[in-house]
């Protein structure tokens, strides 16, 4: 079986977010980039399956749409255990653009399983996975929290309202994964880091594609106000403030 893990290069989750150009662009200066956490877990699961069941998975490929700078993240994915990588040399403009680029880059590669994260930690669009499944005409399941594979079949568990659902599907198959797919991201071992240098990283030119959306502006969430405390006797005042000041009731 061949697995494709789609990875996106996102700002470290502790980044202090700032905007520039009149709040139309994200300020990238001083930002540290990491593998999108869901993608890192997907990759971890793929590597686990490869290591646990010899012969089941022949190859794990990672793909990213990003500039040259995203290669550090790609090499980390190779260090974690991917066998090779594809980078589409373009800025990831929006979900449709990214999905189109990935679809174009991998359409002839016959992957049995494709994994995407449920969203990316930067724009949280939650759209690439579904679009990619459509473009490649694949069965897909979203909110996947566990994944197992044998021969030409996968079994996934997915979160549903109030419980979980277990689904079996034939490959080729695309899973949009979330929490639970793996417990902790796999830490690249020294051997993996050394090997990452020599693993193939193919850079492909972007295909023609539209950008369907455009960012007007960003806004910071309002800073949280100070907390007010009331004694048990202060109910009247509490009601008054909720009504007149917070305008909640």
């Amino acid at each position: 079986m061949k697995i494709l893990v789609c990875i996106s290069d996102v700002p470290d989750t502790t980044t202090k977010v700032k905007f520039k150009d009149d709040n139309t662009a994200f300020e990238t200066a001083g930002v540290q980039w990491v593998i999108n956490p869901w993608d890192e877990l997907s990759l971890t699961r793929a590597v686990e399956m490869k290591e646990k069941t010899p012969g089941l998975i022949d190859n794990i490929t990672v793909v990213t749409v990003g500039p040259k700078e995203s290669e550090a993240t790609i090499r980390k994915a190779l260090a974690i255990g991917a066998d090779n990588a594809i980078r589409v040399d373009a800025l990831p403009k929006d979900a449709f653009y990214v999905a189109s680029q990935i679809a174009e880059a991998v359409k002839n590669e016959n992957f049995d399983i494709i994994l995407t994260g449920i969203d990316s930690a930067d724009y949280n669009g939650s759209a690439v996975g579904g679009m990619l499944a459509e473009m490649l005409d694949l069965t897909s399941v979203s909110s996947v929290s566990s994944l197992n594979a044998e021969n030409s079949k996968v079994t996934v568990t997915r979160e549903i309202e109030g419980g979980t659902e277990t689904i079996e599907a034939a490959t080729p198959f695309l899973a949009i994964v979330q929490k639970g797919i793996a417990i902790e991201p796999k830490i690249p071992a020294m051997r993996g880091i050394m090997m990452a240098r020599t693993k193939p990283l193919k850079v492909v030119e972007p295909a023609d594609s539209e950008t369907l959306t455009h960012i007007e502006k960003f806004e910071m969430p309002q800073a949280k106000g100070a907390c007010k405390k009331f004694d048990a006797e202060g109910v009247d005042e509490l009601v008054n403030l909720l009504h007149n000041e917070a305008k909640m009731i």
Partner: protein, 593 residues
């Protein structure tokens, strides 16, 4: 990066260094950063959740965590590939040591295993010993210890009484004696033991396996800090050590012990950076949460002062650590061209930098003690509570001034090595001092002019002149300088300030020249404050030293005037500079500058 110059230990006392020739932490490559990341993730996920349990003395857990680090390959960072390691350069080894340094007792156990427990065999062992032991130590299959200290032999390490007598059949050395303060003693599989063969004056080194008959491991010591690291006595009662387990030659043990200590000091210098950065983070986290008098304590100038001083010292020390690490790599590559054995080339390059490793051991351990002390202070009463990480940091810091050679011994080594290398002709310290003496009155007229960096570098060159003059006067005044430890301390303190401040200045200049870095103004603040402080310290230490000489007050006048003039630096608004540095840390809410 430019082709690096080959540096000589201590030569910074007279030579000027081009900032293009120093390596700075801003230049770590992608692979080095990935290795650091791996170390950090390992500590976050496998060690940090167990800090408390480890400190309760759960040795099985410690062993288990150590083994896991081995599985990840972390124990092989310094070991060449043909012995199961990953053959990383010294800069990378130091970066890994920095990150591991934030893991309290685990760090001590890990560093003892990978450093003093493994490297004597790697650097001085023969092929057979490396295959038998180093491969297993590099993977974590075996855990190692280093047994030099004895009840009667601490700082005076060569005075040990443990003996090794060749058996009649010539197949074994029979080992008898007692070792003390042995890190990892409680669970190690292999030990590097130092003992004297027959009536030798000098030590030899042996590999001993803990489960051999006659090896008796004592109880764990109850300690002030690093409680999770095992420290025991070990007794040897007629232990039969196969002759194949003698490391290097008979009588080579003391040299091995000292070289390994040089390496250990360097690595300790890196460890303390990681520990200090995490203490800064804990402290600023607290300052950003704790309110008094209706405001966060982070808003108080007294707290900002502390945070800024912590950062200044960490940043300056870090500049020196990676500067010398690269110097070691350059020398190592050079030695490897001519040496038959890469292990020897490595250890000779590391131990070449005797002046620098002693500086970094002393400055680094005192830097960390300052940082954790002020860290506790920022926490107020909570800093005294065992619930807070800073309390552990405070206790665990203290050992660094004691082991790997006490700071007293290392201060003496700074001065002795510098004078020794000068007398060997490695650099012309005394010639320079002679020239300065000839025109000593002109020194009072020296001006600090030019652009920002020119002024800084001129000031630093003035520090060099002061130190050269004091060393010259000192060696002229005393037949045996060894009897004058107080003055040696004065000189050691000046040399430390010089090296640290110069490394900082070279780093900031290189960042300005080659990197587009938004924090540059803050780095300049750090440099401004540090240089100003260094001038005050050097002024005090130099005058104190000179005043302690037997010369009459009259003879001293030109020298005293020169010292005063050369350490006279322009005033700096240190308050505002420190506030800006602190504000950045407060905004980031962690050590990030």
């Amino acid at each position: 990066m430019n082709k690096m110059q080959k540096e000589k230990s201590g030569a910074f006392i007279v030579n000027e260094t081009d900032s293009n020739d120093v390596f700075i932490p801003e230049e770590f490559n992608e692979e080095q950063l990935m290795i650091a990341d791996t170390c950090r993730s390992f500590i976050d996920t496998e060690v940090a959740p167990h800090f408390e349990q480890i400190d309760k003395g759960d040795r099985a857990l410690m062993r288990d965590v150590l083994k896991k680090s081995g599985e990840l390959g972390l124990m092989g960072v310094s070991i060449p590939d043909n012995y199961g390691g990953f053959g990383q350069d010294f800069v990378t080894q130091m970066l890994a040591a920095e990150v591991i340094g934030s893991a309290y007792s685990f760090s001590v156990a890990f560093m003892a295993h990978t450093g003093i427990g493994t490297l004597p065999i790697m650097y001085y062992g023969n092929e057979d010993q490396r295959q038998r032991y180093v491969t297993k130590l590099a993977s974590g299959e075996c855990l190692g210890a280093y047994c030099l200290t004895e009840p009667g032999a601490g700082s005076d390490a060569n005075s040990g009484k443990t003996t090794a007598v060749l058996s009649e059949d010539g197949k074994h050395y029979i080992l008898n004696g007692q070792k003390m303060w042995i890190t990892n003693g409680g669970f190690c599989d292999t030990q590097v033991v130092f003992a004297k063969i027959d009536k030798d004056r000098i030590l030899s080194a042996f590999i001993v396996e803990s489960d051999w008959e006659g090896v008796e491991i004592g109880q764990d010591e109850h300690k002030l800090g690093i409680k999770g690291s095992s420290t025991t006595q070990i007794y040897y009662n007629d232990v039969k050590v196969p002759v194949e387990n003698l490391i290097g030659k008979r009588g080579e043990g003391f040299r091995i012990a000292l070289s390994i200590l040089h390496m250990g000091r360097m690595k300790l210098g890196a460890n303390v950076i990681g520990a200090a950065k995490s203490a800064v983070t804990l402290s600023v986290n607290y300052a950003n949460e704790r309110k008094q008098f209706g405001t966060l304590i982070a808003n108080f100038g007294a707290i900002k002062y502390k945070l800024a001083e912590m950062v200044i010292r960490v940043f300056a020390h870090e500049s020196a650590i990676y500067r010398v690490s690269k110097d070691i790599d350059v020398l190592m590559d050079d030695y490897k061209k001519t040496y038959e054995d890469a292990g020897r080339a490595a250890i000779d390059a590391i131990s070449h930098f005797a002046v620098e490793d002693a500086i970094l051991k002393v400055y680094g351990s005192e830097m960390l003690d300052y940082v954790v002390d002020e860290g506790v202070q920022i926490h107020g009463g909570m800093g005294y509570s065992a619930e807070m990480g800073i309390e552990r940091g405070y206790r665990d810091s203290r050992i660094n001034r004691i082991f790997e050679g006490t700071n007293e011994i290392n201060r003496l080594l700074i001065v002795e090595s510098m004078i020794k290398f000068a007398k060997k002709g490695n650099y012309d310290l005394f010639g320079e001092a002679e020239k300065l003496n000839e025109s000593i009155n002109d020194l009072c007229e020296m001006k600090i002019e030019g652009g920002y960096y020119e002024q800084k570098m001129t000031t630093i060159s003035h520090f060099k002149k002061v130190i050269a003059l004091v060393i010259k006067a000192f060696t002229n005044s005393f037949k045996s300088i060894a009897q004058e430890q107080e003055i040696q301390n004065n000189i050691a303190n000046m040399i430390m300030e010089l090296y640290i401040t110069e490394s900082l200045a070279l780093r900031v200049k290189k960042i300005e020249d080659t990197h587009n870095n938004a924090s540059l103004p803050l780095y300049k603040d750090i440099l401004d404050v540090k240089l100003y402080d260094a001038a005050r310290i050097i002024n005090k230490e130099a005058l104190e030293a000179i005043a302690s000489f037997s010369e009459t007050a009259e003879d001293r006048i030109p020298l005293v005037n020169a010292i005063k003039a050369l350490t006279d630096v322009p005033l700096v608004n240190v308050k505002d500079a420190r506030r800006r540095i602190a504000d950045k840390i407060i905004e980031e809410n962690r050590y990030k500058i």
